[in-house]
């Protein structure tokens, strides 16, 4: 009985099947399409059965990949047929042939609605399914209430309700407003009590979509999900038909665990305990069995359980258990398990701090990089890329390079890009970086994008020490036969700029360099010719004394290209020819390239762009966005593991820095470009500055005198000298010959939220910081790194503590040797609550340049906070007992930087203000609880409530309560500062006259006690 009595259809299908070749098939199909078209033209003669038959034929033809651009109306008209068989075909074929934007669909909305609200269950199912598959915005608007009603109706049978759930999911995706969050969290919670596993399966999909958009609204559903998982995992009350090879619906188990991954944490201890018990059972109780299907199903559950455990930040022990399990998986023979082991290890890198555990499996992972299966090789590559840091970069990058020669063509570009990025991010030294990139170009030149070689040129240009090395390397490569054109480009460029640094080595005089480069000229493409011409001009410029023979050769080439078809080349040839006859002027025009401004690595950008977003944000991605601190290794931050190797930091850090105003930048570039040749300008004399700024200083605010005190505290030479004047004048970030190359304000702000990173950096030195906080004690280490080949002298670091902090800085050595890094521990004790900030007064001498800066230290209020999780029973009595000012303060804050609640939650979390979800019944509010530590207050509980207005994100009301009035006030102000704006640096209008004056009058007495706090003073200045 073929196709329910449609003989013509069977005949047609077997005709097509019997076609010998594609051409015959096309002829047969064209014939059929013609036939259907004529039959549809006089529709009146068609019986419903015939119509059905033709519509199926259309679907069959469409499935084979042929266009069917007619007959849509006929398919649609079947939807309105009164009988089930026709209606069914109409619905199914319509959802295959049409899409949501098809205008015809609008015509059937009414029919569909009548089926949905009608009495016939099977019609309801058909209609819900079609809308669920192809319904668009208009369907969402007109059908959502009906669909919702069916889903929650108690009189509806499961078969209708499960379809309604997924139909609603579709409508929700088309228009999120159809699900009103307020009412839905309770409804959802009830729906999750469902006993029918079919309904539960589709409800869970709906739930995942809802919770992925707003997990806060659905906190009440979390225990329900845990219960469902428990019921399944323990096989309680699961009908036989829903177990698969003895495993209670693995699909529902997986989906439930997916849903749980959208909640940031599980706070309730009972739920957490029950959940971990189940997870532990899954982790430990999954054995390898003979039956493939059973094995797969149980491992599907196991892998999802692993993901959930990782997400929930289980205790260290359970985490290492997970890594051990994954380690076992990546070594098994079964390819699916190996693939998933690698994939999940990569995910694990993203979300938890287990790098060290994973690193133990490096050898095994490298083996997988050579697996015969490309899917597995890709996973291994991703994992190696993710787990790379300073400690293993050399090994990993070398493995990648080795693999590059044998890798599939489809993978080479990705491989080359990843190797280049890792080399850039984690290079232990710059010469190694140059080696890696040149090897990359040599081995896989076709797959090395221009960005990669531009980047190496940038590094070489910006690092003088590297130039002779790079030039020598480039020269070596030129001896190789059959050079890739990219290699010709990069070596010609580098040799043009720096070959004169090699002049005394054998084979490296200008003539020899020219000859070997010129050998490549006949075979290269136009862009390379242009580079070679520039190289020749540079060689000519560097040839001292000039070599008439070489000159003649080069001129001949310039003349030859004067009439070249490409305009760019023509112009270069003409101009270089004329210029090179001008003698001395040539040296000015063709002077060495100035340093490049620091910019984001184009490579990293490219890698970021390559990540294409999928429709729904996955839980992992959401999480990695929220917890940037954990994702350090995979983002472009400096490595957190291991000590901060200072001379790489410059390299490592570059990609992540945002640049300051561009005008400022250009100035900087020029100056830096000149550093190697021109002596630093003689520092202006004190008198000069005094004359210039003196008169202004008279009108300066009294605060001016304070910095005099600083000078005394810091034990500076009492006599003001030019350098001091200059340095102090530049606290405002201007007119100094040495400018920081990081945005100091941004750095400070970033370090307020995390515990390690770069505090300051200029062309000569870098200051990194690493800190640990325990109750009211802080242990900080300053990493002072000299980036140069000559020592930094007269190094001086003094802490100017505010009154509420006791700060002890260990001895700072007076000299930092070339390329060295010294560590200076710093102990901080918090005496009481205050928002004042400690300042590090730092200066050093490089050659004749004196650099002095004042930096705010990130020993701020929130470092002495520890988030607390309390239950409602603990919270509310406390909240009530602290009634009214001064212990409880309330304020409406306006001009708040608009942010969503999850963003605000993130901000609070990073400020160590533990947000407690679910405590406040209003989902627009945020309640948080934290412990503050100081010597005077000891541990003190602080309770915070923020009420936001969803219609106006720029204002909110904040209420803070604690047992100490100062603490309450300071904390309120502190949070306000962070809510109102993230401080961005504004360039100071002029060097502060007050400070300059102060430098000139170091003996002035302290006049205003209120200003004795340097933090306050500096904050005022900034």
């Amino acid at each position: 009985m073929a196709l329910l009595g449609m003989r013509g259809l069977s005949v047609f299908i077997s005709d097509v099947r019997n076609c010998q070749n594609k051409e015959q098939e096309r002829l047969r199909i064209d014939k059929e399409l013609g036939n259907i078209r004529t039959r549809f033209k006089n529709e009146k003669g068609l019986t419903p059965n015939e119509k059905k038959k033709y519509v199926w034929k259309m679907l069959y033809i469409y499935m084979l990949g042929y266009d069917v651009d007619f007959g849509h109306m006929e398919a649609l008209s079947l939807i309105s047929a009164p009988k089930y068989p026709e209606k069914q075909v109409g619905y199914i074929v319509t959802s295959c042939l049409l899409n949501e934007s098809h205008e015809f669909l609008r015509m059937v909305i009414n029919t569909v609605r009548n089926d949905i609200i009608g009495r016939n269950e099977t019609f309801q199912c058909l209609a819900l399914t079609m809308v669920g598959n192809i319904g668009g915005k208009e369907f969402a608007e007109s059908l959502a209430p009906d669909v919702q009603r069916l889903l929650i109706s108690s009189s509806c049978r499961p078969l209708v309700r499960k379809k309604a759930a997924l139909c609603l999911l579709r409508l929700y995706r088309k228009n999120p407003d159809v699900v009103n969050i307020d009412g839905w969290s309770d409804r959802m919670s009830q729906l999750l009590d469902e006993r029918d596993l079919g309904v539960l399966t589709s409800v869970m999909s709906l739930f995942v979509a809802l919770v992925s958009n707003n997990n806060e609204a659905y906190w009440n559903c979390l225990p329900k999900c845990a219960k469902i998982l428990e019921r399944l995992a323990r096989n309680q009350d699961i009908p036989q038909e829903y177990t698969y090879y003895g495993i209670p619906s693995p699909w529902l188990q997986v989906k439930t665990m997916k849903a749980l991954q959208y909640f940031p944490t599980v706070e309730d201890p009972n739920t957490r305990r029950a959940l971990f018990e189940v997870l532990q059972r899954i982790l430990m109780g999954t054995d390898v069995v003979k039956n493939v299907n059973k094995n797969n199903a149980s491992h599907a559950v196991l892998f999802e359980a692993l993901a959930l455990v990782m997400h929930l930040d289980a205790e260290k022990e359970m985490m290492s258990q997970c890594v051990a399990l994954l380690g076992k998986f990546i070594a098994v023979r079964e390819p699916n398990i190996r693939y998933l082991g690698l994939e999940n290890m990569t995910r694990m890198l993203l979300i938890t701090d287990v790098q060290d555990l994973i690193k133990r499996h490096q050898a095994q992972i490298v083996t997988s990089l050579k697996d015969p299966d490309i899917s597995i090789r890709r996973r291994a590559l991703d994992l190696l890329y993710g787990m790379c840091d300073v400690t293993n970069a050399k090994d990993i990058v070398e493995e990648l390079l080795q693999y590059l020669s044998t890798a599939d063509f489809v993978m080479r570009e990705e491989l080359a890009l990843k190797a280049a990025i890792l080399a850039e991010k984690f290079a232990p030294d710059l010469s190694w970086y140059v080696d890696v990139i040149l090897q990359l170009i040599d081995k896989a030149g076709d797959f090395v994008s221009d960005d990669i070689w531009y980047r190496v040129v940038q590094f070489v240009t910006n690092n003088e020490d590297l130039q002779p090395y790079a030039a020598a390397k480039a020269r070596e490569y030129l001896d190789k036969p059959a050079l890739h054109e990219t290699m010709v480009k990069v070596s010609a460029y580098i040799l043009g700029e720096y070959s004169h640094l090699l002049a005394r080595r054998p084979g490296c005089n200008p003539k020899e360099i020219f000859t070997i480069i010129n050998e490549k000229l006949p075979t290269v493409s136009k862009p390379t010719v242009a580079i070679l011409l520039s190289t020749y001009a540079k060689i000519l410029m560097h040839t001292e004394p000039s070599d008439p023979e070489l000159q003649e050769q080069i001129w001949a080439i310039f003349r030859k290209y004067e009439s070249y078809i490409d305009v760019e080349i023509q112009q270069r040839a003409v101009e270089y020819f004329v210029l090179s006859r001008k003698g001395a002027a040539l040296a000015d025009v063709l002077a060495e390239m100035p340093k490049f401004p620091e910019r984001q690595s184009a490579l990293l950008k490219k890698a970021e762009d390559a990540e294409v977003d999928t429709a729904e944000q996955s839980a992992i991605k959401l999480r990695s966005q929220q917890q940037t601190s954990n994702a350090l290794v995979v983002t472009d931050q400096q490595p957190v593991n291991g000590p901060l190797p200072i001379n790489q930091l410059g390299l490592v850090r570059i990609p992540s820095q945002k640049m300051e105003a561009s005008s400022h930048n250009q100035g900087l570039t020029k100056e830096n470009g000149a550093v190697s040749k021109v002596d630093p300008e003689p520092a202006p004399s004190a008198d000069f500055l005094g004359d210039l700024l003196g008169p202004l200083a008279i009108e300066g605010p009294p605060a001016a005198t304070v910095s005099a005190e600083q000078n005394m505290i810091s034990g500076l030479e009492a006599t003001p000298n030019a350098a001091d004047a200059l340095a102090l004048a530049t606290v405002g970030d201007q007119s100094n010959s040495v400018q920081p190359i990081v945005n100091i304000a941004e750095r400070f702000h970033a370090l307020c939220l995390k515990d390690s990173g770069v505090l300051y950096e200029d062309p000569y030195m870098q200051i990194g910081i690493k800190s640990e906080w325990r109750a009211h004690h802080g242990h900080l280490v300053l990493f002072l790194g000299n980036k140069n080949t000559s020592p930094l002298l007269s190094v001086r670091a003094v802490i100017l503590p505010p009154t509420h902090l006791k700060v002890e800085l260990s001895l700072v050595p007076e000299t930092i040797p070339p390329r060295a890094q010294v560590q200076c521990p710093l102990e901080v004790v918090n005496l009481r609550a205050s928002r004042d900030i400690a300042v590090l007064d730092f200066s050093y001498k490089f050659g004749t340049t004196v650099v002095s800066v004042k930096l705010r230290l990130p020993a701020v209020l929130n470092k002495f906070l520890q988030p607390k999780s309390v239950s409602a029973e603990e919270f509310f009595p406390q909240w009530k007992s602290l009634s009214g000012p001064p212990l409880k303060l309330q304020e409406v804050v306006r001009v708040v930087k608009p942010m969503s609640l999850p963003e605000m939650t993130n901000l609070f979390t990073s400020l160590h203000l533990g947000v407690i979800p679910g405590l406040d019944t209003n989902s627009n509010n945020l309640v948080s609880c934290t412990g503050f530590y100081s010597e005077s207050t000891r541990a003190m509980l602080c309770l915070i409530r923020v009420e936001t207005d969803p219609s106006d994100r720029t204002q909110l009301r904040i209420t803070i309560a604690s047992g100490d009035p100062t603490l309450t006030f300071e904390l309120k102000e502190f949070i306000k500062e962070h809510l109102i704006n993230i401080p961005t640096p504004t360039p100071a209008p002029a060097p502060s006259p007050a400070l300059a004056a102060a430098a000139l009058q170091p003996q002035s007495p302290i006049t205003r006690a209120g200003y004795t706090d340097p933090g306050v003073m500096l904050a005022g200045l900034l």
């Binding site: 299908i13 892998f303 699916n336 299966d373």
Partner: protein, 143 residues
């Protein structure tokens, strides 16, 4: 979204069943089917059942001369999908009795009905074989 498409092709690469849960134009479908069929059919038994393609994954399984290919998002549980394919095959087996390519070709509508009961809007909706086959039994009895 989860499941993006379910595709059945034979050893020669001819499509025997195709159901998409996101809209693709005919050209896109032709190109996609060509690419992934070429990729998956070239793989050996010793290789894993997952193939990465553009920004999603193909989970596939071979039964004699038939390949079942399911396109899923990157964060979908691969093994669960792999067993979902087997569930589909077992469901077909229960109805046709040891299902073969011809059964699916000449009962295209039944294959569609089954799939429609199992996947909707890219999500698994039912895994109970008896319930999945109920509408087909009803129809068989009606005709």
């Amino acid at each position: 979204m989860g499941i993006r498409f379910v595709l059945l092709v034979n050893k020669q690469g001819q499509t025997r069943l195709a159901q998409y849960y996101e809209y693709l134009t005919l050209e896109e479908r032709r190109a996609l089917e060509g690419e992934i069929v070429r990729k998956c059919l070239a793989r050996t038994e010793q290789q894993c059942s997952f193939v990465e393609h553009r920004n999603y994954k193909i989970v596939y399984r071979r039964y004699a001369s038939l390949f079942f290919l399911v396109g899923v998002d990157n964060d979908e549980n691969e093994l669960a999908i792999l067993e979902f394919i087997h569930l589909l095959v077992e469901t077909m087996d229960r109805h046709f009795g040891n299902v073969c390519e011809l059964d699916i070709m000449f009962h295209l509508e039944k294959a569609h009905f089954m799939l429609e009961e199992m996947v909707m809007n890219g999500c698994v909706i039912e895994t109970n074989k008896t319930i999945i086959l109920t509408p087909i039994h009803l129809m068989d009895r009606a005709s």
